[in-house]
Symmetry: D3
Subunit: 291 residues, 6 copies
């Protein structure tokens, strides 16, 4: 896509429309969750990761304090398979023994996190990878002994994130937490993104996924909701209209806006520059959650 096709008048109109948003968001925190499936696509489509990185860098360049949170489920599964490790599930959750945790940590911190940091840093040395274990960022506790090292968040200490964004850096967070004894836990990345947005008093929480947004009728593409409140999310979850894969995102959005985040968004990461369009045009893309 080249902007050369637009007339001067169109360009001026787009700029007039966008500049007030740019002003409004400058100096504010935007937490972006970059999802496992998007990452899986990025493996096959390196341009997708590159475009994501470009958007992050553009936001950063105009003074937005961006924090990236990521998961990596498919990538963990792939390494387990290579190592001949058979996954075990209970109630849809992966049982995580010590070896599985080691694999998850290597993949999230040593592979996926590194790839995102590397993609951003082709634009300049501004990204810094973090694990939730660093500087007490994510404190966790075991969810259920039967699940092993699957953790729930007990506290977020956003100090290290504040310091890094204050220095003009972009933190990229792998969602491994730890308890005070130093034991690590694997944590749901959607939940972490929401909790970090709350802890930072973020302006926006954005989930980049591979669907268009939330539908009121799952099977009906025409029922896509452009805006929704947290109570409606609760109702859609209760009625089953929001399916299992979307539940952590949708409930993280609902909780975040209830806890002071100005708005939360579920965007279709397959739309080119979806982040820019959502932040800087009045129409937006995907589903926005506001209190």
């Amino acid at each position: 896509v080249s902007a050369g096709g637009a007339t001067a008048e169109t360009k001026a109109a787009v700029l007039c429309e966008a500049l007030p948003y740019i002003r409004r968001f400058s100096g504010r925190v935007v937490v972006v969750k970059y999802g496992g499936n998007a990452l899986a696509d990025s493996v096959s489509d390196s341009d997708a990761l590159g475009m994501f990185a470009e958007d992050i860098v553009l936001l950063h360049s105009i003074g937005i304090h961006v924090v990236v949170v990521h998961g990596g489920g498919p990538q963990i599964g792939a390494l387990m398979e290579r190592l001949g490790k058979v996954p075990e599930f209970r109630d849809g959750l992966r049982v995580t023994d010590a070896e599985t945790l080691d694999i998850a940590r290597m993949v999230l911190v040593g592979k996926v996190n590194r790839d995102i940091v590397g993609a951003i840093n082709t634009h300049g040395p501004m990204a810094v990878g973090l694990s939730g274990e660093d500087a007490g960022l994510i404190r966790a506790t075991p969810r259920d002994p039967a699940l092993g090292y699957v953790g729930d968040i007990t506290a977020i200490d956003p100090t290290i994130l504040r310091q890094l964004v204050a220095e003009g850096l972009i933190p990229v967070v792998a969602t491994i937490g730890s308890d005070t004894a130093g034991q690590a836990y694997n944590i749901n990345a959607d939940t972490v993104a929401g909790s970090i947005a709350e802890a930072l008093g973020a302006e926006k929480l954005v989930f980049l996924t591979d669907i268009e947004g939330i539908r009121s009728v799952p099977a009906d593409p025409g029922s896509l909701l452009s805006s929704i409140g947290p109570d409606e999310i609760d109702a859609l979850v209760a009625s089953g209209a929001i399916g299992s894969g979307m539940i952590p995102k949708a409930t993280a959005c609902a909780r975040a806006v209830r806890d002071g985040v100005a708005s939360a968004h579920i965007l279709d990461g397959r739309v080119r520059h979806a982040l820019l369009l959502e932040l800087f045009t009045p129409e937006g893309v995907g589903t926005m959650v506001v209190a």
Copy 2:
């Protein structure tokens, strides 16, 4: 003009194109000379002043440190006429006796400056009017005894401008200077704009005029120069290709880029949002002067 007509793809393309410029100019100084004729038009077309003010506010909103400099020749002439004062010229320069100076000062500081400040401040209390007499901003000396209180600049003290922009304010400067004994002088506004840009180490000096730019052949609209160097300006002035009205602007541009201003621009203020297009698109409008 509404941006609604642009597709999402076009909007994304314009934004991708514009954001790096926004980054580059944030925190930098841009000095904008708003001309007498543009002002005269504004009297009949209040929307022109309103759109100018809107562009200034948009630049300011994204962190650009804007300083506005203005003249007001036609407005001075109008009040002189109402007061029955007959203008006298020598070599094309208005002879300025004490009463004429008083009139010029009332018009520039008490009328034109106020109108510009007022137009900007409809967007919020961010503009502050200044005369060059304030805080030693413009020190002047008489050009020629025969011309009375017509002054040449001896020194610019940009301290007050730096303080105001540091406080997030937009200085609007009327081009009256003074000597150390407190005597005021009327100074050419184009020259003042250039000297202020130099003193502030501005990123850009922009003249908003009512012509398209500099032409290599005065009578040939097709000879409009989109870019030019200071030496070429000297040559065009020497050859007479740059006419009398344009000389102060053109020579101010040449001197400014020689003295460290990154670029100087002569724009057609009749193009809507010419400032935005010049700053945030690669094509630009009008003539750019670079070293």
Copy 3:
């Protein structure tokens, strides 16, 4: 007057007496209203304006944060007359149509304000002229539709004044206010002086006038009051002992000391160096209002 006539002993005694006041007022704000009639005199007696400027500079030089507020009624009338504009009054207030407002603004901002700034700046580049329109300093609303652009103060934002005095500058304020839509209004200068003193938490509010002070019996020079409380002012206004021209000053003094200004003063500006004598000697001159 030369101090040479005083003996060393007298000089030491005056200094011992004055230095504690100098200490007490250093770093404090003193708002000085320089009146229309004093200004009218200054036209004929340029030495009066020069001596006023000298006193302001002396106060400034020892660390007092001086803010000057001025009116200019006689000067406005003079220009209206020259332009053939017939004044119209209702209940003693000038009906201010758009053209009258333009004239008032030109005279106050472009003439009177400039003359005061110029007189101060003969001692160094320390004065900066402001209109109440600048940076939201004076927010106004129309008093009465029948009076046109005569305004009442709705809010004072003293930020710009604080910034300028913090930079070692002397703000000189012309009393034009504006509403949020950018419309200008002419405001009573005595009232503005009082409101600014309150907004700044000034140590002193001083009105330099052409009378000796407040008398308890208007016709009796011997009834001059050297000190008075705000309740007594209310009573004298109610009884008619304080006449119409003095009412805005007297009520501004009463309100200011009720709102936290330490003392307010009505001084005879015709006494040479009245400001110095009032601030630095125990006897003072004129009438002091204290809570």
Copy 4:
């Protein structure tokens, strides 16, 4: 070991001896390289890693700015073996193809770095894991096309390290570097430790190894050198007295003290609390290199 066995007199003597060192090193940077073999031991002897972490925390607690650098050769080999990847060597250096680099990065950043961070953070949330890719910390270039992604350092940007230690945090650095295009490289950890010490102007560079120090006669334990200069190191390397495994450490020490690091140390990490003894007692342990 309990200090209870020491008499009050002995304790006072040890304290008198140690306090001046504590004073001298407070606020100074100490770079500690924790070696691959020590790490391998830690796997079997978790107490070794725990004691290392305890020493690091004690140094940190008294105001020393500690930066930890680590390798992980044995651990990389182990994962390669599990994944059925056959190592290939040229001239003693591992040929590193893309897959090997991915494995190295996962092990170093996602496993070894995490284990060290976790061990320190059992004492409080003070460690932060970093890869040399973060924030441009280690810029690298390929050493030899035949070796694949084995890198040489081209530049160290210690800004992120300075920021973290200024915030009271302990950076733990995995020695992956990157070029400006975002390509990662595996770098020799001894060399990185030395370069970081130089870039930070460290007070001390310490290699914790599994040997006693440098011997002048390799086979003679009695020839252990307690102190040595950089020129002597050059001579011992030239003569072959310093063997291949020790060469990167010894030459990093020599270069560091030549480039402004006050002293470099090769310590026997198997001695309990070797770091404390080296820093806070006059005898020291192992070999010290001084200019």
Copy 5:
């Protein structure tokens, strides 16, 4: 005593034990009262004063903010005797006429204070002598007209102490107070030490005396109390078990810990390096008072 006799293992054990205390006390205030009798000994045993100074300097060197308070009763008596002045006592308190006060002040401020400052400053220019008269440090009122210039503390202004320790200096305080009219008074040094510790929110208040500590049974050395609470002190004073010389120290300790000082200590200054042992070993020496 040389630390050379300790093995590496013992040294490491002592350091591991001491470093956490060093961390805990760094940046905290410790007020040390150096007593009259210790001073008297110092005259005969200059090494005692030298060792005291060495300990103070060591504490200072590791970031502890040390404030020294001293008395000088025996030294005052000696000069009075030389000047042929006969002491007079009432209820055990010295009657202090103007001449006695002059002598006390000369001895405390001009002799004892100087000797302590000089002993510390042999290690570097870090001590500064103060009298309680300086900068309003100790405000006093006469205790009893019959006693003359014997004062009780009415207020402590610790500002000057905070400024000096913030500059890295060690204040040494002679316990002369003054009233607002400038009259000086001699004040009990134990009481001053306690009040200063309270005013500074000190971590510790330490009395260096010539006894081992507080005994529950005065005549029984085996009844030495290593730890005691303020209520127990009250009881021991009431029962007479704490004798007259110890009462000011013991009650100052009780009051200080009740007013927020973390712990107060009565140490035997004859034990070499008693201060170091008390602060940096778990056993401590003497009697500790905690709330």
Copy 6:
């Protein structure tokens, strides 16, 4: 003396004359040497010390950074006599054995210094007594073994003085110096005052004495010099016209103005408020030394 006798016009004239000096000296350092004989007078005439203190406080109150330096020869002699100590002189200099030094130190630091501090602090807690031994203020070396502890200045470290004046305090300096081994020395107070003025880059150095100033002809009161240069001082010393008691003052003045102090003054302290008259009136009193 009451200022009430002066007319308003006289007062205004004195103030106009004085305020520019007040401005000029605000924030500048003035070092005042208060002499031994003045002190001796003060004993008999406590009002003299009180008036000196009042002047110091007035200077301080208007932002002048005052540093007081004092001697105390007569007072030292008096205590020696009371203690039956026989003074011994060589070439007019007092031989100072250890006991004499102890006496000098007690008198200067513990008596004279205290009296000056106390007199100032009756106006508020602003004075702080210092000895040159404090914080390395005056480093000294023995002048001549035969003279004992008579010292010459080797270095002035004005850090502690700068800190105290920055905190709004008035340092009062007793002129005892010390060497790095902690040995104290008695130093000529006139020389110390000059050296401190140089080290602080003082605006003025003032000697308050009991004579009118420097005469070109010692016996002729009419030959009093109101102004003199350093070379003339050298000549008058060489010719013997400046007598022995005045030599240290005169040479300190000459050296100070050569080393950057703007002016040095020898004033007659018996003139009431001589300091105020010198600083704030154009005539001055006594002899001024300028480069």
